[in-house]
Structures are given as C-alpha cells and as structure tokens.
C-alpha cells in the first residue's frame, strides 16, 4: 500500500510529489495524459512573479512571495533554466501612475523587495525599445523567468529518482474512502490505494475533489493566447514588460524566455470547455495590437508558433488549498501558480503534518538532478571527451536548436521517459526552433520507435490518436 497518491503531473503535482519523497518513497503520481506537463504547465507566461499583484494576506500573495524566494535555489538543484531578469509594469497616463503607486504599496506589504517607481526616461534607459506612449513604470528587480515544463519534468524526475512511481494514461474517475485511506480508480480499471491523496488535477481539481466527497468549489477555464517569436527577437527587451491594469483590461506581457525567444501574450477570455486550447484569429490579433503598444519594433514576421494556455480560475478568487480526512486539494491554481509552486509543495506538507501525518525526513533523499541541457554547457574539451565515448553526441538531429542524437537518446532514457514527439521536444528543445521540426521530426520518430520498441507508425505527437503517420506507402 502507498502512502501518497498525487493526482495530476503538472508543476504543482510534480513538486508536491518530490517534496513528499523527502519523507517516503511510497508515492505514486497518476496522470491522465501520455506525458507529464501537458496541462497549464506547458502553456503559460513562465514568469516567476515578484509578488506585488495578489491581494495582501491572500494565499496567492503569501505563497507567491515565498515560492519566488525559493525558485532560484530549486531551479539550480533540479538543473532547470532560470533567470532573474526583472519585471516592469508600464503605464501610459497619470491614472496608470496612481495604479502603479497602489501596486508598489501592496508589494511592500506583501514583502516584495526592491520595488521602485520609474519615470519615462528611466524606463527607456533600462529598456530602449519600450513603447512610445509609456510614461511610467513599476520596476521589480526580483521578477524572474523559468522554464515551466522543464521544472515540472525535473520535479517528477527527481521524485522518481527518490523512489516515486508515475502512472500515465491514468485518468482518475472514482475515489473511495476506505479505513486505511483511499482507493483511486482510473477510467481503464486500474486501481491504487494510499493513506493520503493529493489532488493537483488543475482544471479538473473540482471534479476530482467531488469524487472524494470534498467538493464545494468550482474551477473554470480562462483562455490565454500567445505568440512565440524567433530567438533573433529575444533581446528586444531584457525584462518582462507588463502593462498597468486599467479600465481597458490587463494588457499582455512582452518577455524574453529562458531559451532566448520572445513571448507575447496572454489574452484573457472565459470559456466553458476545459480542454479547448485552440487559438483564435481575434485573440492573436489582440496579442499583436497590445504588445505593439508596450514595446516597439516587434518583428511579427518572426513568429514561430502560437499557442493557448487555460488558467484554472477558482470560485473563491484565491488558491483553494485544503486538507480534510487525509485528502488534500490544490485547486484554482491560476497565476501566480507557477511562481508559488515550490511554496505550495511545502505548504501541503505543513497541512499534512498539522493533520497528524507522520513525516520523518529520509537520509537518502537526493535533491539534485542533472540538467537535461547539460551537454550545451560543457566546454569543447568536455564535449569531445563525451563524444569519444558516445559518438551520438556528435550527430546533430535538430539543426535549429543544435540538439544531437545523444541528447535525444539521453532524454528518452531518463525518467520520466517521454513516449511522444512533444515529450521529446519539451525535454530537449529538438523541433522547437525556427523550422518547428520540419527537418528533424522524421529522425526523432525513428529514434522513439527504436527506443520504445514500437513500429514507426505507432509513434504519436502527444498520445492518444495523434499519430504522425497513418501507414506504409504502396511500394514500401
């Protein structure tokens, strides 16, 4: 019997599971999709917010500030790309300036360090490409960027290195209370038992809580659309540029990513379908219009992809984190959920301890994990030494991002193992560059098929029926 079942392998579930493996290896993560990090964690702004945005005293505010303070060290331990690039909230009017003053005050109350109001000239000195109309800004030096799916994959991987198990394709459909804890059933009939269940099911966390009789709240999806630009554009701004919230709405952000691309978005639109991650003509047009006001000289001809993320907006307006009868829910984890995630994991453990769970620290817990991108950080001599042993590291597969066969094989062989093209992509960046896989996907499909021991036609983009090829040609 397990001690803990964690439902949902997003960044929250991943970090919760890893935190629990500090105490026990009897942890199982269950995830309905074919891979981890396929929900909100794979499509968001990737900002580690400084923490001036959330209302004083809320869980969001507390966990955001704490999480943001923990993030750098955690990212280093897990080998995840992180960069403290600073955030700017830009204003266009005197009214905006007032709002920024309020934000500054709120930030100070929340305990955010180093906040400063800047005038137009100071903003331009910091960011020469800032939009013409910008007249003031709030500067937060502790604002940072991180790679969210990399963080999630590394968290799950670290949990697994410490003994946790991962079940994918495990869509929780029913939860039963038993004397010793809970029975958790998957749609396909699989069943697991554990003393505790931690519900981190993102958009579906309300339904999962309901299954255990612990509902009473709801979560609804809010769509956010993005455009991602070529690395050529990544240095247009150094910091993350937000727009001051006003009657006109929240605006979008313009930010470099840790991999050096430029990210624009998100829009905000309440929808009803929890799986509808499509982009819309109107949404993309809106991103474009708003981003152009905040920053000048954005090369829209250099867009390499666009995508949508769904925020899980909780019915209370705050994060909904509760622990009752050994059932913990982490629900309504919308932004700043990524920033808060390390603190959410700690908080969950605190709730468990408060509820009487016995958690003794293990002596053999391994906190660190080798970075997926370790190869790119080696010196030429080190690379050559590795190539000598494993020549696959000299065989370039993804030419846009410069990713070798060795790196792809390493990713396929490292827990949590990817089984899909998107899984390989999220781990290695192969096919994430400017040609978006036009050249390398046929090779990656081949490597995946060989490693998984399946036929070429069995390989999918993202699981389920997302087959890349549908059969053989006539003469083949």
């Amino acid at each position: 019997m397990l001690d803990y079942i964690v439902i949902g392998a997003g960044v929250v579930g991943g970090l919760v599971a890893r935190e629990l493996t500090r105490y026990t290896d009897k942890v199982c993560i269950v995830e309905k999709e074919a891979d981890v990090a396929m929900g909100a964690t794979s499509a968001n702004s990737a900002i580690v917010h400084a923490g001036f945005d959330a209302k004083e005293g809320s869980l969001k505010a507390r966990l955001n500030v704490r999480g943001s303070e923990m993030m750098e060290e955690l990212a280093t331990e897990l080998g995840v790309k992180y960069k403290r690039n600073g955030s700017l909230v830009v204003g266009f009017s005197d009214e905006d300036k007032k709002t920024l003053e309020d934000l500054l005050e709120r930030g100070n109350k929340n305990g955010v360090k180093g906040l400063k109001l800047l005038d137009g000239g100071e903003v331009r000195a910091l960011e020469p490409n800032i939009g013409e109309g910008v007249s003031c800004a709030l500067y937060a030096p502790t604002g940072a960027i991180v790679c969210p799916y990399e963080l999630c994959i590394a968290a799950v991987g670290s949990a697994m290195d410490n003994g946790a198990r991962l079940e994918h394709g495990f869509e929780v459909k029913k939860i039963e209370k038993i004397d010793t804890g809970y029975r958790v059933f998957a749609k396909d009939g699989r069943m697991l038992e554990a003393a505790y269940v931690i519900n981190c099911a993102g958009a579906y966390s309300d339904e999962v809580a309901e299954m255990a009789g612990k509902g009473g709240f709801s979560v609804h999806p809010r769509r956010g659309e993005y455009m991602l630009l070529d690395r050529e554009c990544g240095s247009l701004v150094r910091s993350t540029v937000f727009r001051c919230p006003s009657k006109m709405g929240k605006g979008v952000l313009v930010t470099p990513t840790v991999d050096g691309n430029l990210l624009l978005g998100p829009t905000a639109e309440d929808i009803s379908d929890k799986d509808d991650t499509s982009t819309t003509v109107e949404g993309l047009a809106r991103v474009r219009a708003l981003a152009s006001e905040q920053v000048s000289g954005i090369g829209f001809g250099k867009v390499i992809t666009s995508f949508t993320g769904l925020r899980s907006v909780g019915s209370t307006g705050d994060f909904i984190i509760s622990c009752e009868d050994g059932f913990v829910s982490c629900a309504g984890i919308e932004s700043p959920g990524l920033s808060a995630s390390p603190a959410i994991a700690k908080y969950v453990v605190e709730l468990l301890v408060a509820s009487g769970a016995r958690l003794d620290e293990r002596e053999d817990f391994i906190p660190t994990r080798r970075a997926m991108h370790f190869f790119s950080e080696l010196s030429v001599e080190e690379k050559n030494a590795l190539i000598k042993e494993q020549p696959e590291y000299a065989h370039m597969i993804c030419r846009c991002e410069g990713i070798s066969e060795g790196e792809i094989l390493n990713a396929i062989r490292t827990e949590p193992r990817p089984r899909t093209l998107d899984g390989v992509k999220r781990r290695t960046r192969a096919s994430m560059g400017r040609c978006q896989g036009g050249f390398c996907t046929p090779y990656i499909v081949e490597l995946l098929a060989a490693e998984l021991g399946v036929d070429y036609t069995e390989v999918t983009k993202s699981g389920g029926g997302s087959y890349i090829n549908v059969g053989r040609t006539k003469e083949a």
Binding site: S278, V281, V303, I304, R399, Y456, S462, G464
Partner: protein
Amino acid sequence: MAYLSDEKISFGIVIVGGGPAGMAAAVAAYDAGERDILILERDNALGGILRQCIHNGFGLHRFGEELTGPEYAYKYERMVEERGIAYMLDTMVIGIDKERNLTAVNRDRGIFTIKCGAIILAMGCRERPRGALNIAGTRPAGIYTAGTAQKYVNMKGYMPGREVVILGSGDIGLIMARRMTLEGASVKAVCELMPYSGGLARNIEQCLNDFDIPLYLSTTVVEIHGKERVEAVTVAEVDERRRPKLETARTIPCDTLLLSCGLIPENELTKDAGIPLDAITNGAVVNGDRETDVEGIFACGNVLHVHDLVDYVSEEAVIAGTSAVRYIRGESGRDADIALKTDGRVRYTVPQRITSLKDTVVYFRVADVYKDAYLVVKRGEEVLYKRKKQKLAPGEMETVKLTEEMLKGDGGELRLSIEMA
C-alpha cells in the same frame, strides 16, 4: 572515396553543404586548377534536397535531358568522385567567423576547427513552418511542411495522411499533391493566398490538372480543427489586401494539412558570422563573384536565394567556385562598385552589387504577374536596356545580361524596373 589525413587542419577552399550547389562549386573550383578542396555535408550522403525529389524535371537546361532529382545529384557525385575531391559526411558545420575559421562536428573527430583560404556557403534552404503563418485553431498531429511529408513518403516509406488539404502552391506542394494522390491519398484542395500560383506552370498542369485536384486562388486556411489528429480545416477567400472574407468560410474535412508556403534560406551560420543579408532574399548580399560582404566567403544555391530550377543552382555554383579560386590566388580584380537597385516590381536581384567590369548575368524575381511589360535597365534617366516580356511571374526566376559596355560609365548605381506597355 577520397580521404582526409588526420593532421590536416587547413584547406584552400571549404564548402559548407554537399547539395547540388556545393558539389558544382567544388567541381568548378577543381576544374579551375585548385586541388585543396573539402566539402562538408551534415547528411549521410551527398545530394542535398535532390535526394528526396524522385520526380522528373531536373537538368533540362544543363544536361539537355530530363532527370529525376537523385539522377541529377548522382551526375555531380560522379564528378566529385572522379576528381578525388575530399568530402566529409555526417559532419555539421556549427560556426564560421570573418577570419574564415570554421568549426564543425562529427562522430570521428568531435568538434574541430579548420582554417580556410576561402569558404563557399551552400547550405540550401528550409520550408516556412506553420507558426510563421500564424493559423488559428488547434495544434494536432497531421500538420507538416510539404518537404517533411516528402521525406516520410519518399525516404521512409510512410504515409503521413489520407485526406489532404495543401496550403500554398509552391512547387514542393504541387509535387506532393501528385505524389500523395499516386499513393492513394485524396487531395481535396490546394489553397493559394495569392491570386496566382508561386509554382511552375508545368507543375500546375502535371501535378494538379492531370489529377483533377482543385486549385483555389486568393484562398487561405483560417482555422485548423481536431484534437489529436487534424479533422478538418476552415478555408476562406481573401480580399485584395489578403484579409480573409469570413462570409466565404467553409470547412473541408481532412486528416492532413500540408504547407507549401515558401522556402527560407538557411542562413544561421551566415548571420552568426556577421555577414550582411538582403532583407528580401534572406540570403547574403553578394557581388558578381557571389562573394559576400566578408572577403573570401562566397555563397551559392538556395542559401543565397531560392531557385526553382536546379540547373540555375549549378550555374551559380560555378561562378562561386571559380571566383573562390581567383580569390585565394589574389586575382579577384575589382575595378568597379556598382549597386543594383530595383523598383518594387522587380523584387530583388542577385547579385546586388557588381565589382568588376565584365559581362554579368543578373538573376531577378518580380513581385506580381505582369503581361506584355518591359524590363528596363537604367543609369539615372539613361536607358541602357529595354526588352518586352510577354509574361513575368513571381514563380519563375528571370535573368538579364548586363554587358561590360552597359556597366562602364559614371555613377555607382543601375536600376532594374518593369514598365507597363
């Protein structure tokens, strides 16, 4: 196969890319008397993109016979072999600098550096992906560039789909419309944003019309549907400013969307080396020798500008190859500096500059379809050349020969324009 001794870390001429451009440049350099030549190719064979083009239609100009892509490539491979020109396969060039130091990587040597007398860039081009087109909707499996689909079908023997809509009427898209049809797939439509096709007229005839595949001009894909695999696309006509007219939107069920929306020269290395590029061709700015703005670094083939016929690629490569030989011998001989300008109807020229007074063939493309128009070359107001053209189209590359006579004279600028009758 030619070998390369281990100690050797400098070469006279190093060619990046072993496609038709790279091979023809190497052969031309050899025939001009140079022996110290090395071709670096990242794939496991020479031939470049031609290896996957198993259709006919190569070499009519150059060899006077119709060859398939691999046949055309093979002719050049033979020439490379016969001359004993050295090449390294599975070797990716990862950096070059202005001093002509080149860094490459392969299994046997790891990461290594070569000092080059001259470098010829011949890296070819890649296709424009979906993201660049920014189509709304879902992101399921089943969306490929036509060239990727071509690789699955021709090289790997797999079918990427059964019910196909093709966006863009570039040549690869047209060729794949026929190929997929022959393989038993149903190609439901080819949609082209522009009011004309970007492909060769003969491909429209032989790949679409012969198979009753409809070509919808001034039409684009506005939305992609399907969660796991493509289930349908919504297409709509566009107005004169290429904005979709949503009242014309209709949905076509399909499991595959192929994109054939243009090619982009593969100039990462060029950019990293600080070599100036032309904003229209996306290739380096070059002079008549196909020398870039960085001395001793030349470019030819699709990396310089996108060609529709491989024959022109070979032609251009000969210029680059022989010029590189003259360069390392110190015989480049520059006696002019003339900028070639265009009028907007002529979109671009290659070369963009002329630095020696000799007859020079200039390649160019036009921005729209023009009928019975005049191609005019002027110096200031003086007309140096005027010729009536029955039809000019963006899909077909044109040439004009500027004679030594025309190049002589004052003023560092000539202008190519299209004048309507």
